[in-house]
Symmetry: D2
Subunit: 333 residues, 4 copies
């Protein structure tokens, strides 16, 4: 396995592959920023590193790649990897445009290689159990869904790309809202978004807070919200409500301690996504390795899933721009 | 005190006035359905009962009235009571039309009598504490809100009036979304609604499930949802998220027992609104009596609050009809 | 109904009788402290007050009395009331000595009047549900129990009577440990106790912290602990564990708000016992009134229950003195 | 690293060393049961396996050993490993007799090798945080502690050694009760135990349920309980209560899903100890490897800690036999 792009998520995946993923061997790292791949390779005992990922794609020892570059480079990397016959795990979002998503999927299909998108919530034990309750029919007909993502802190607000809250953050919720919908697909999206955390960057186009509502082809309805700054810590939740019951995920902090003081009974909250999703990140890579090895198990997160979430993000962004609901079917390349 | 309309809520209020409201004495009951007021009067030891509430309004012994008729009769009853110089406590919604709300408020102003609307969540200890966190600034600038109401069971779906989910159920959430917004006022509402619980009544106009998103004049944003049937029990929650923290209300069941079995750890849930809001119902009447007696304390729920929530409901219903967001300012009599 | 002793608990009960207990009428208050009964009578609109409770017992209008004097006066008051033919509700503990308990019970039996002890936890909805799970067999054979009581603050440590932590505080836990044991009875008690909150009063005999373990005739085993000062607030919990499952009571705070801040997710805790047991206090009086009126429902708390808990407290205190387990059968008058 | 004894825990540790412990390399497995070490070696890609651990101790490539044999063989294995100059990680309990514990500790001291006992709760994030609250003084003077361990199911009750509930299960609680006591040491132990899960094996000496109370040199007091069969799942909790507050660990299930149905709101519970303590098991080995490598961090679990917990278990067992409290100081080899 090789990792292309070893920033925050790439380094996390590289470490998982090197140390925690049975069946995987980390053999190469690539990053155009000088010194970065080299340092990570030294830290993780990885034999190859390069500034140019084309070199890794040329290596026969590399069976599969994890792509964790900035999202605007995803499509080129997926296409190149697919043409080189490598299996592809790509961080979310699959792309920033529908055209890029389409050519990425097409390339992996033509190359006959697997493509998995980094929707790690699908591999979190609690989300998986919720999915199990939905798919087994225990919740009955699905009627209402809710999902939210709130990050603990907004660093570098000025570097957030336009629409980043939809493409980078709510993209997870969009995927969850499909993952837990029992097969229903969104048909219409309405979104509100604003710069409430850093209002002074609103003129520069920052959107740091958003709420979304949507309707499915089944008649079910959903809401989602996101914020780039929840001072109380990392907050990810979902809820799926049906005619026979409800599943809620992530209401309690994963830290199983309560501190009772004059202030009340306090549960500490995680401030770092790996505290919440460490298991999910490990499991999605294990799943990918199993696919590459020919086995397969558990929930998938395919290129089509990546495209469907991207289309929802594009619809949400257009809804903000136009101030009205947008039909999913109206999003075209 | 007299009670006009002794159906479910009227009987509940009458019992509170007779037995649990210091300073109040229940002296009359009125209901046009033969036998109803008579039976409740016997049960509660109430000296007067009548089919025609005009008789109670003519009684000097009646200082104040609780109006719990069907909502379409609220305005006439408020106006009559105000003209008779009685203080008025009126169940929500204040009315079904803005014109009715306006003439009700005008009549109480002209009569110089207090008007309180039955938004009992404002008097629930947890909602009150959340309001305290908002108003003291402990949550910082308010950015995102969520509220929801789900009833345990839908009886008599065919008798639900058009828009009932907005006028009767979400009206509470609309009030909460103002109560916890730190003074911000909604400016735009978008709503989706459908018959998901009883789809066969959709042709007859039933809306039994709804999601709403809205934007405030402060830039804050909110979502709400409602369902007429949550099989797991009565479910009322709210959440207010600001730059300095968040308050959530109602996440746990009020029943402080956990049953641990082979199925897991189960907390029973209430199926009856009085199990959740018994304290709030008692407190709102105590507050009203204190106002009538000349004192006053705690949060109010004025006629203006009733009208503001009604306007949100009207906007939500129009949004469903037109399929686009509706500006609050566009709702006119 | 009349109330004898209108200190903290007596005043609470008097207010309940005056305002919240259907079927009851408060007609007299007695307290030897000058002015106390008079002031409460004025506050509650109670027609009679006296320094000497014998006067109330002589009143034919008084059908029943609530005894809330200091515990060492309970027996005399119970006997006098029983001889006057009044039904008796007596605050816990029934007495400080087994001889006093016996003569109290005997007097009520001879007088043919009901005797109920103020174990309000039996009337709390969560404790009642736990009892229901035990008695219906849903928890299987009962094997392990736990109970604890911690008060928020210790005022007047120097006035705590010797053994007060057993007679006044753990007496509740002793009753709970019988109430939830499915009919099993304690046979042996071992206790540790110390002055950990106010160590400087240890020479004066203060015991402000205690842990107890005990064995039942069924083989089941239990622990309890108590402290006079839990800075985080009032803390009452119980747990009953059987071959088919477990019930736990009181783990969450009754305040259904969570405040999420940089410190974590905090639930406020009650600092006042009425916040926790308001419903239980009302229900135990309602039950007593129903018994007096000839009806009866729900769990009882009889004189025998009061004596059984007292015997456990006496055994625990002797265990502390002798440093070894004490058999219940060895506690004799 | 080599692992001696590859039953349940040994195999778990071997897998951790092979796959999840940075800095460690698994080079040998030993188990006297034919085929067992061989199969695990094949599964984990471990180069050496043997029936006789003496062969591993003779290998210079083996720097350190993990001992996971039945407890009665621990002392011999520790002594042999120490004499061979290997660092030792030994599963709990360190031994079944004080003499064995003493010679184990002496051998590692003479050999100048580290000895760590498998008290993984010390490495669990929630227990570590509780310890931090204690040691930083945030809980004030420690007054009361509670700890409990309940396993989901009792297989092979007839094979449980006498006193197994103290030596194998409560040994964890005894360690926790020292770990969270802020430096206080137990001075007296009282225990009750019985065969309540499998009463028919009581004649054969089975003890499957126990409660313990104890007193510390600081005056603090504690209780613990254990059961070999909690049908609702694996249950491990602890609580430390001081003059300034309380920490509780493990109250909620680690599975962050709630299923709301007609039965109520249900949280699934883990039935497998690795679901709860996976992180603790990984962290204790990482800590051991760091010590072997010359670094060190976080809480220790030394041979002396192992001995102290063993002494508590011996005192508890003797208390059950004699029916009275036992002083820690009276436990001698």
């Amino acid at each position: 396995m090789a990792v292309i792009g070893v920033g925050l998520m790439g380094a996390q995946h590289a470490e998982s592959l090197a140390r925690r993923t049975p069946g995987a061997r980390l053999v190469g790292l690539a990053d155009p920023q000088p010194g970065l791949a080299e340092r990570q390779a030294a830290r993780l005992g990885c034999p190859r590193w390069t500034l140019d990922y084309a070199q890794l794609l040329a290596e026969p020892a590399v069976e599969a790649v994890v792509i964790a570059t900035p999202a605007r480079f995803h499509a080129d990397a997926i296409v190149a990897a697919a043409q080189a016959g490598k299996a592809v795990f790509c961080e979310k979002p699959i792309a920033h445009t529908l055209a890029d998503a389409n050519r990425s999927i097409a390339a992996t299909q033509q190359g006959g290689v697997p493509l998995q998108i980094g929707f790690q919530r699908r591999f979190d034990p609690a989300f998986e159990r919720a999915r199990g309750l939905v798919n087994s029919g225990q919740l009955g007909r699905i009627q209402l869904l809710r999902s939210l993502t709130r990050d603990p802190e907004l660093f570098g607000a000025e570097r957030v790309p336009p629409g980043g809250i939809f493409f980078e953050t709510l993209i997870h919720d969009f995927d969850v809202l499909r993952f837990l919908a029992g097969g229903a697909e969104p048909v219409e999206v309405f979104a509100l978004a604003d710069a409430l955390v850093v209002p002074e960057l609103k003129p520069a186009g920052l959107l740091d807070s958003a709420v979304v509502s949507l309707r499915y082809d089944s008649g079910a309805m959903a809401t989602a919200d996101a914020s780039f700054q929840a001072v109380y810590g990392y907050d990810v939740r979902a809820e799926v409500f049906g005619s026979e019951g409800m599943a809620s995920v992530g209401e309690a902090s994963p830290i199983r301690l309560v501190h009772h003081s004059r202030s009340g009974s306090t549960q500490p909250r995680p401030r770092w996504f790996v505290e919440v999703f460490g298991e999910g990140y490990a499991a999605e890579l294990a799943h990918f390795v199993a696919r590459v090895r020919g086995g397969q198990s558990g929930p998938a997160a395919t290129g089509e899933d990546g495209r469907a979430a991207l289309v929802m993000a594009l619809a949400a962004l257009r809804s903000v721009e136009l101030g009205r609901p947008i039909r999913i079917a109206d999003i075209t390349p």
